[in-house]
């Protein structure tokens, strides 16, 4: 283990270490702490400029209900939009890329490495090179400014990364499994659904968690593909509400926290899957 376990060092060092860890953590999360504290403050403090002193009143419930009040702001709508966009996009991106990953790892057809390379490369291209044609296409299809456009695009774009991710998992499975199933006369789709999918379930979970945060956190495509409140996800919504709330920093703060919370919850609940996904989504060496 490196560095050497702290338990082996002198008492003085151990005490310093135990104190410095929480201190560093607080310093590291200071910007976050600032916004959380601000989201609890009442309007009186905000108006009088008491941002960091002792709060004269706490308005935790008021602030958070205020931002979700449909007659005051469309935040609730944005939040629902984000869910409606993210969940199906994650599901279909996983499903299609599991199929593609299966094809790329089980069948030894010509050009499969080229195809695999293409999927990885596509994941790295700058969004700007896609922006004008994708907008044009959705415009022609009459889908510009709809949630469906965002769902469709996210599925297509995330398929590149996901195929790369799942192909590696499927390629690591023992090929004998597939062969013996074929001997038994199982059809190809039966092998895929009955054998492969159950075996890669942990990988699917890791990928799902990653894709959830990727798609939930998307800002660029929301900005370029939708305009109306009916289709805006929360990232774009927050940017718009910031103008509306202008100096009500307590509301901006509360809105920011609500916008970040789903990814944070997903991360804390499925932490193991998330980190596995993150590290295995890189390169195997």
């Amino acid at each position: 283990m490196y560095p050497a376990p702290i338990q082996k060092s002198k008492l003085g060092w151990r005490i310093i270490y135990r104190i410095s860890v929480p201190v560093c953590l607080v310093l590291w999360l200071l910007p976050m702490v600032a916004i959380v504290l601000t989201s609890f403050r009442g309007n009186a403090d905000i108006i009088s400029g008491n941002y960091w002193g002792w709060p004269t009143e706490l308005q935790i419930v008021e602030n958070y209900t205020e931002i979700f009040n449909p007659s005051r702001s469309p935040m609730l709508q944005y939040f629902v939009n984000s869910i409606i966009i993210t969940l199906p996009a994650v599901f279909f991106a996983i499903f299609f890329s599991a199929m593609a990953g299966y094809a790329l790892s089980i069948y030894k057809f010509r050009g499969r490495i080229a195809l695999y390379t293409l999927f990885i490369a596509g994941n790295f291209v700058p969004y700007q090179i896609l922006m004008i044609p994708v907008r044009l296409l959705f415009n022609q299809l009459g889908l510009l400014d709809t949630k469906f456009a965002l769902i469709l695009f996210h599925i297509a774009f995330q398929t590149g990364f996901s195929t790369f991710f799942l192909r590696n998992f499927i390629a690591d499975l023992p090929f004998a499994l597939v062969e013996s199933a074929r001997m038994e006369g199982a059809s190809e789709s039966r092998i895929f659904f009955g054998i492969i999918i159950p075996l890669i379930r942990p990988a699917l979970a890791s990928l799902g968690v990653l894709l959830f945060t990727f798609i939930w956190n998307d800002f660029f495509w929301a900005l370029t593909l939708v305009q109306s409140d009916a289709a805006r996800p929360i990232t774009f919504g927050l940017q718009a509400l910031r103008g509306q709330w202008s100096i009500s920093w307590n509301l901006i703060a509360a809105g920011s926290i609500v916008g970040a919370l789903p990814s944070i919850i997903v991360f804390f609940v499925l932490q193991k899957q998330f980190i596995t996904g993150l590290t295995l989504g890189g390169v195997k060496e």
Partner: protein, 314 residues
């Protein structure tokens, strides 16, 4: 198609009688196996071609035209690129992109330092690691809002804290020439968290015997870190660096939230400059040419990354 079934030189199943599309059952099975990859690839590949592959070529084509987004397209050859190379805004963006590239490379370094600091087994360290990682999970819009608030030169927490120590930090927070650095510092926050987790995983899966052997051989702290530990972490370093570089070239969200390219275009980068030209100024051809330049830069790093991955496949 496969050879005729021949009972003399095979040990396989007896002749089959059922005919499907004029093939016997064995032929039908081989046929299905041959066609299966196409079936399994179809949805992913179709979507990928329509929304990723084809648009790349279409953008390249648009970059040779003059087009406002709805009227007629006019072929102008290399004019957009000629205009771009004499546009001061292009060079401002280019310099800022370079600055992003260099400064965000602190993320892997800081990530390694934090990972080494936290790689201990003491009570509560697991939750501490998770909390250190938190910034990476938060979306960049919120990060931008968090830092706008944190940096606020009149009311922000940063200026308030420095006031306690009687240090006036407001020149840094208001100077337009440091605006890009402020945005980059905000981007280092989630990026460092990401690199940290890669290094923590790398440290956890490190070959303990090699580390012990070096220790027994009496390696001093410096050579231990640079000759034993860091070489073993090279795969984490590789991913951290490539992802950080690609992220730096892609930077858009934070700029859009924190500065919108301002003041006076001073914080522009290619990604945001392109968006402005295309969406606000309706110069699609010009915007597309910026995107093509950005893609060319990115291709250098993409091909580097692909070479390493594909090498492992052959």
């Amino acid at each position: 198609m496969s050879k005729e079934y021949n009972p003399q030189n095979t040990t396989e199943a007896p002749p089959l009688t059922k005919k499907i599309f004029g093939m016997n059952e064995y032929q039908w099975m081989t046929f299905r196996q041959k066609m299966s990859p196409l079936f399994f690839l179809a949805p992913a590949l179709t979507l990928f071609c329509i929304f990723v592959l084809f648009p790349i070529f279409q953008s390249i084509w648009i970059s040779f035209t003059s087009w406002n987004g709805f009227g007629a397209m006019e072929w102008v050859g290399l004019k957009n690129y000629q205009d771009l190379f004499v546009d001061p805004a292009f060079y401002t963006s280019l310099i800022n992109n370079a600055l992003w590239l260099v400064l965000t490379l602190f993320a892997p370094v800081l990530g390694l330092i934090i990972a080494l600091f936290l790689n201990q087994q003491v009570f509560g360290i697991k939750i501490v690691k998770s909390l250190f990682f938190l910034p990476f999970v938060i979306n960049l819009v919120v990060i931008g809002l968090i830092f706008s608030w944190f940096y606020n030169p009149d009311l922000g927490l940063l200026v308030t804290i420095f006031e306690v120590f009687n240090v006036d930090i407001s020149p840094f927070l208001t100077n337009e020439n440091t605006a890009t650095v402020r945005v980059i510092l905000a981007s280092l926050w989630p990026q460092t968290a990401y690199c940290m987790i890669l290094y923590l995983t790398g440290l956890a899966s490190m070959n303990a015997e090699v580390v012990e052997a070096a220790r027994i051989d009496g390696a001093d702290k410096g050579s231990m870190l640079f000759r034993v530990i860091i070489p073993q972490l090279r795969s984490a370093t590789f991913i951290a660096t490539v992802v950080t570089i690609v992220g730096a070239l892609r930077s858009f969200d934070l700029i859009s939230i924190m500065t919108a390219g301002g003041p006076f275009g001073k914080t522009n980068v290619l990604a945001y400059f392109m968006y402005q030209e295309a969406i606000f100024n309706f110069k699609m051809g010009y915007g597309a040419s910026i995107a093509v330049i950005l893609l060319l830069f990115m291709l250098v790093f993409i091909s580097l990354f692909l070479r390493v991955i594909v090498k492992g496949e052959r």
